[in-house]
Subunit: 477 residues, 2 copies
């Protein structure tokens, strides 16, 4: 049995048992406590730390619930055999392309032994499970209908509810102008197919959402970077790029941009729409984070400000409710485009599942989303604040970062370039995951970057993670 | 109020009330009873027909449950206002392409006033609703996990259950060789993307599933027809086509081929695999109807007979359970192909929903599928028999058809060519829908064809529908 080391804050939050659990996770993650290591008994650890046995019991229960340790009756508590399965970690970090990193971070989310700040994922501890299952059971009355083929455009009831919902956000759309999609990503893929042929040029931010980069690469499009500043895309450059490249569309994330967290200013939104009008440029507005604001609400949506139907609006419930819903929506007033998108969808899959769409409609109709947002905004705001404070405390001089006012992610810039993936792989070996910046940039840069997500880790875990990261950067620099 | 006409069989099955309801549907469908027509009172109709009031009440209740009539308290029973909404019927039949017809038949399934034999749809009256919802509620214990992002390859638990299930069908595969897809159609789209570039040539049956034709057209592939006889594809021709065109794959539906219902003979399966081996030709085996046999079970699957990993196996739960599950599966032992398919899927959507996948796993684990198949096979066998008998009785000399030994559809051949869509649109005006054959054939033919599906109509409705069809053909010939 190994001696564990702790550094506990005995006054105030977070609770002692949670601190103990998180510090054991750090020692499991960095390999100090390998798989199958026996932990001290509850009594031993309580004595060592001078805490009650109940506190240690609670810490062990949390570790067990998260899969980091296993209790064997009559023998004790052991570090889980499934911690850091090398078969998985060996496969991680091999390809730093958008597709490779997307593959990695989706897998890492399930790996016990890694504290992942790599995935922009809401915390499953706050999922509105009870209310959603109540909705599922209400939908049982419509079972014959929802378990048949759904309208390819999506459940009519959900589209009616969404038309009401987006009206409050300044978008005037009838249900026929709304299309339900399997998450915003499917919308991006369909719009790109509808608007381009292989070899065409499109504009994206540098950096931008790696899922979008992956889709556009897969469709063999030529990607041109639009530089960002703290207010959004730099419009002078954007205009020159439009003139020079005649792009087929510009893909934008005005609210709490992924990966930077930047919220586009009102002036920038208005200027962007003027360019769209002047050059007849379609704009894809990806708004999956728009309702997750932690300071002031964001300025009006591009789609709400758009007089000329240049904006194709996309959103989803992955970040504000639960990613597993795989339910997003697309709004365009361009009938020909919508017909084309439905045609492309019929050549992709046949829509649905109606069950999940109808249950989401019932959830929205009951006011569930508003209640849920009121509950989770303060939680994620606190995590954002903890992340900013932890970076200030633990990251060495020369590292800079964005200050997200919403969403789930911050973008860090290092003062020099390391070997590709070097920091990423070292961090993984110590049980900590972020997302390497290369995946967000179509071309290499003079600095190393990465994204840190704060949605699905507790404040204590965020502090612990950033501390590990600071140590690694210091060692490497 | 209009006088209704009836022709009732008072001895034996089906029950009188069901005959009355179906005959009123026919008169609504053909326009004799337009929307808002007042029906006789229960007492009036009971007196007219010499049946009990309860019989008429039951008939009206069935019509009301299906949405064909509405009861207005104190005023009587009226043909529903939503019968044959002209806004929809006007849009139907305009495009006889695969995409246009697919769009039509999905919409027609929801149109009140049309008896649709156009869609290969199981009867929702027999959906295993109670057992599936019990599964959904059991999955609640895994809610945090299933409502997060799922593995892009599909729920691990479902893949484990499927590996066991397909073993009984002669396929040896580990869960890692199985990929969950949003219905077999998504699998076809992904495989075509993985195996081809625009302009490449692929082999399909003539006729073949219109959803596949639509996908292959959308991907700009060159389609070469393989002729079919009663045993399956003609192998001599197939071999010549392979030699001449060097196709990227052959798409086959060995079990209860859609639209013909043909089951490929064992000799033909073996011969096909020899060609696949000789020419290193990938074969897509679409097996969504394989478990719906009404006479003898089908010969072994191509995938089970395949020694060389040439076969990519596809199936789904749309026909054997419920289409709304949108859950299918793909099996290949080719690791590089599977990696490529997962990569393409990450550039399409992000998989899931895990909820539906896990609930399907629970349903399968409980033995629900086997119980369900034992229940529905005799039902669909009876409908198949009724269809064959009704065609024999009502269709004029010169019309020929296939005799399906499984699945949901029969393929009819008319002795001459009518103007494109002529029969289709006339039938719709009389409240009856089938699927026009043009949508199943990449090129025009010397005969008119169409598909009749018998899965989602009662035996009485099948008889009534085929009778209408026979009248139309006679008039037009």
């Amino acid at each position: 049995m190994r001696m564990l080391t702790f550094d506990l804050n005995r006054h105030g939050k977070p609770s002692l048992y949670h601190q103990i659990a998180e510090q054991i996770k750090t020692q499991i993650g960095n390999g100090r406590l390998p798989a199958n290591t026996r932990l001290p008994t509850v009594r031993q650890l309580a004595d060592q730390l001078g805490v009650t046995r109940l506190t240690v019991q609670n810490a062990y229960a949390e570790l067990q619930a998260d899969g980091w340790v296993e209790a064997v009756v009559g023998r004790g508590t052991f570090v889980s055999r499934s911690v850091q399965p090398h078969a998985i970690l060996d496969k991680i970090g091999r390809r730093l392309t958008a597709d490779g990193v997307l593959d990695d971070i989706l897998q890492l989310d399930h790996v016990v032994g890694v504290r992942s700040m790599a995935l922009a994922h809401p915390d499953d501890a706050f999922f509105p499970i009870d209310e959603f299952w109540a909705g599922l059971n209400r939908v049982r009355g419509d079972a014959e209908s929802v378990m048949s083929y759904t309208s390819i455009q999506g459940d009519p009831q959900l589209r009616v509810v969404l038309a009401d919902m987006v009206r409050e956000e300044g978008i005037t759309a009838v249900p026929e102008q709304i299309m339900i999609i399997s998450g915003a990503m499917q919308g991006i893929a369909l719009i790109a197919q509808a608007h381009t042929r292989p070899g065409d040029t499109v504009l994206i931010d540098a950096p931008t959402f790696l899922g979008t980069l992956n889709i556009l690469h897969a469709q063999n499009l030529t990607l041109i970077n639009v530089p960002l500043d703290g207010e959004g895309p730099c419009l002078d450059t954007l205009e020159r790029l439009i003139q020079r490249h005649r792009p087929r569309f510009y893909y934008a994330i005005p609210n709490y941009h992924n990966p930077t967290g930047i919220c586009m200013s009102l002036a920038r939104r208005e200027g962007l729409l003027q360019l769209a009008q002047r050059y007849q440029l379609p704009i894809i507005e990806d708004d999956i984070y728009g309702k997750l604001y932690y300071d002031a609400p964001p300025p009006p949506l591009l789609k709400a400000l758009d007089p000329g139907d240049h904006v194709i609006y996309l959103s989803s419930f992955s970040k504000i409710l639960m990613p597993g819903l795989r339910t997003g929506y697309l709004i365009t007033h361009n009938d020909a485009l919508r017909s084309r998108l439905l045609e492309l969808r019929r050549a992709t899959d046949l829509g649905g599942p109606g069950l999940v769409q109808r249950a989401t409609a019932v959830f929205l109709q009951s006011g569930g989303l508003k209640r849920h947002l009121r509950k989770i905004r303060p939680i994620y705001k606190q995590r954002r604040d903890v992340l900013l404070e932890a970076m200030q405390t633990h990251l060495p001089h020369g590292v800079s970062w964005t200050r997200p006012s919403g969403g789930f992610s911050a973008w860090l810039t290092l003062p020099r370039v390391f070997a590709p993936g070097e920091l990423y792989r070292t961090a993984l070996q110590r049980g900590f995951a972020f997302t390497p910046g290369d995946a967000y940039l179509p071309h290499s840069d003079e600095n190393d970057h990465f994204r840190l997500c704060f949605g699905n880790q507790s404040p204590t875990a965020i502090r612990a993670g950033v501390k590990v990261l600071g140590q690694i950067i210091r060692e490497k620099m």
